[in-house]
Subunit: 457 residues, 2 copies
């Protein structure tokens, strides 16, 4: 490692974990401190996620609270919960003192109500305590639940020089200065300034003369996904949060939004795969079962429904056994088309790129279904005729059914998410097993009805 390049990128290796574990076992505090000092807190958290609780607690008690508070924030949720259980209220309060208000409130919110009161009682900095208590009042799923109280605020009446002097004071508490928010005497947000504007300006100018009136903001009760959309659209790195009277309450930074986007993407991906609740590969079998079984049960009832339909047409089974061979084909195609259609709609809804005209969209999906259906039907026609020796009427049945089922699946896949969205339900629920199952059942029913019509049993 040369002097000029200390920044070897961190890699979590088994050797490194073994080394940390050995140093803990030997109680070699000096070497352990020296080793961990070189790492970023996010890296230390990754190491602690790999060792056992006792070892993690050892490291947390060893390091200073300035580091451990950040490490705590980065730990896996499950591990943080265990670590917090092993810390006294006073110890947690010490960690809290080192954190920004948004992170502090997030940690406290994870505790039981009784412990929350205990921990808050131990916070010594009265301003910090008041700010955290305020943040705890906001719902986790709102802009208020994301925001921090740390921000740089200037009054329009100040001069540039006075401003810079005061910012030196305020900025000590703020890790990164994104924007400087300009307020009037009533603490209402009226504009913004960048640190750059301030440095470039002459020192005797008034803030009122140089501030930018055009400032984006979000209301404190806004949905986090909406905040993410606004920040992404306008390329913002921080956005002020206000109440209905435009009083400046806090600010949200882009790194929190990056987390929101990642969680949202993970959640939607899991929903589409039929998994509810935010589970990870490492969660317990019980947690994973709870997240997965309900969707399998939906599929199961669909399967029972399909069995009833086939049972209802059991006479036909004996007359035209070839038909039954193609049930899996009909079912798979219906499911696949439905998932495709709904995924496109769910994404369009999320990006606000779907306009109001449902009829047009359904028409387009029908046309698309017709094109895809014809293509697939032609191939199936050839295969069924030559490889399975189906009669002409049987082949016709299968092909007509395929086209009809594809169009119907596309329509169901398009309609259900739009319908749910209009009712205020998260359309993402609609993709995955829900659509697959309903399309399975409808598809098979349609298949037998068409068979009945063409073959006349």
């Amino acid at each position: 490692m040369s002097e000029e390049n200390e920044n070897i990128q961190f890699e979590l290796t088994d050797d490194l974990i073994a080394e940390v574990e050995q140093l803990i076992e030997q109680k070699n505090d000096r070497e352990l401190r020296k080793l961990l000092k070189g790492f970023h807190y996010a890296d230390i958290a990754e190491i602690l996620d790999e060792v056992n609780l006792e070892e993690a607690m050892y490291v947390i008690k060893l390091l200073d609270s300035e580091t451990t508070s950040d490490v705590l924030m980065e730990l896996d949720d499950d591990n943080r919960e265990k670590v917090l259980e092993n810390l006294s209220a006073k110890e947690i309060a010490e960690e809290i003192e080192e954190l920004d208000t948004d992170d502090a409130a997030d940690i406290i919110a994870e505790l039981s109500e009784e412990r929350q009161r205990e921990v808050i009682g131990h916070i010594e900095d009265e301003e910090h305590k008041a700010e955290i208590t305020e943040l705890l009042r906001y719902d986790e799923d709102t802009a208020g639940g994301l925001m921090a109280k740390e921000l740089v605020k200037v009054f329009e009446t100040w001069t540039v020089a006075g401003c810079l002097r005061r910012i030196r004071g305020q900025a000590k508490d703020v890790t990164r200065v994104h924007s400087i928010y300009v307020v009037n005497k009533q603490n209402k947000l009226i504009g913004r300034l960048s640190l750059k504007d301030l440095i470039v300006a002459k020192s005797d100018e008034k803030i009122a003369d140089i501030y930018i009136k055009n400032v984006d903001y979000v209301k404190v009760d806004e949905d986090p996904e909406e905040v993410a959309k606004v920040m992404a659209k306008y390329d913002l790195e921080a956005i002020p949060v206000v109440d209905d009277e435009m009083t400046l309450l806090g600010r949200i930074t882009i790194d929190d939004i990056v987390d929101v986007l990642r969680e949202e993407a993970d959640k939607d991906y899991q929903l589409a795969a039929g998994i509810t609740g935010d589970v990870e590969a490492d969660d317990s079998i019980w947690e994973l079962t709870r997240a997965r079984l309900p969707w399998l049960l939906i599929g199961m009832f669909g399967g029972i429904g399909a069995a009833s339909i086939i049972n209802g047409f059991s006479d036909a089974m004996f007359k035209f056994p070839a038909l039954l061979m193609f049930v899996p084909l009909i079912q798979a195609t219906a499911g696949n088309v439905g998932v495709q259609s709904s995924a496109i709609v769910v994404q369009g809804l999320a990006n606000d790129s779907i306009d109001g005209n449902i009829l047009n969209r359904l028409l387009k999906e029908s046309l698309l279904g017709l094109v895809n259906g014809l293509a697939i039907a032609c191939i199936v026609l050839l295969i069924s005729h030559f490889a399975f020796n189906t009669t002409y009427l049987e082949s016709l049945t299968i092909c007509v059914a395929l086209i009809v089922v594809i169009i119907m699946a596309a329509l169901i896949g398009t309609f259900i998410p739009i319908f749910l969205d209009k009712r205020g339900i998260d359309a993402a629920v609609a993709t995955g097993p829900f659509i697959t199952t309903s399309n399975d059942v409808f598809g098979i029913l349609m298949y037998f009805l068409i068979a009945k019509l063409i073959l006349g049993f």
Copy 2:
């Protein structure tokens, strides 16, 4: 609109679009300029995405290039392509002059090679031209393809006062100052400084004494997803890009990473639903067919495979017709379980939270499959026995098959993504139709084999 709150949040309404279209038709340039002046460029882009090409071109020619260059960047890809086709090389060059180097390079990269040369020839600012030409050399899917040349760079030998003076000069070209990068005489990155550090420091201090040696960076050929991971992990708002010799080449800002994350999430979501290529609801039927048909064909071949299997066991069909009723149930369950398992693994791989031990993971999935399988089998046992009058042996067959198929589907769903990942293939391809189809076929095969074993046909 009160004087103190000019910031009514933008909403794209039909009335607004109609107003813009009317002003264009009347060629009322004065009112049109006045109306659009109040909007953010991202909002103007949203309006232009809704009007026709002729109207969009009218607005673009009307507004100054400082605004239109930003509007261009925000337009829908398809619309931007059309607008660029309608601009001369000289006009494009004028837009380019107003853009940051990364955006400029992105726009030029969308043109044909011949037009690229023409446009670059028309750029008047020689430094801008050289920087854009350099950026065009990097692959779009690397850190180099994301980075911009605009950054604030100081030499370690400077003083704080000298530094501030020079930054005032450099910063004019940089929209937002994130970090100040410290380099040595050889232009190698050795550290960083925040604007805040600089303001808080005494003016006669040397940069060498106050800069922070610990600086995160990425290599110019790094994968954008990897860059996103590093920036999210360390909560960075900008990251410097270096070559193998640590020469400072450019910087990537978090807003570009937000776009990477959104695109990545959209792509994975579509892949899981069996859609390739980045299509939107508004794309043409032909584009949508190309994105969707290949996956439907995979499903179709699966269906044909299932038909062959059933055909192969056609004797059994006549002896135990009840068995066939439950084929859809087996198929749906196998597909659903497979998608769930693979989604968990794909996400784990994306977040690096899956450790090397494949055997452990397969064991856990088997156990999970056993739990889910037993739960579902019990319900199906009751329903099949009472509602469908299946014999004991038939019921036993269905239940055993369900449990075996669920475990097998979980194993396939877990194994395939890990296998693909080890081979360097994007595991996200594995979820969706690919897994569903293979599980359908294997599930049905397994079902009949178990039936043969238990019922002995």
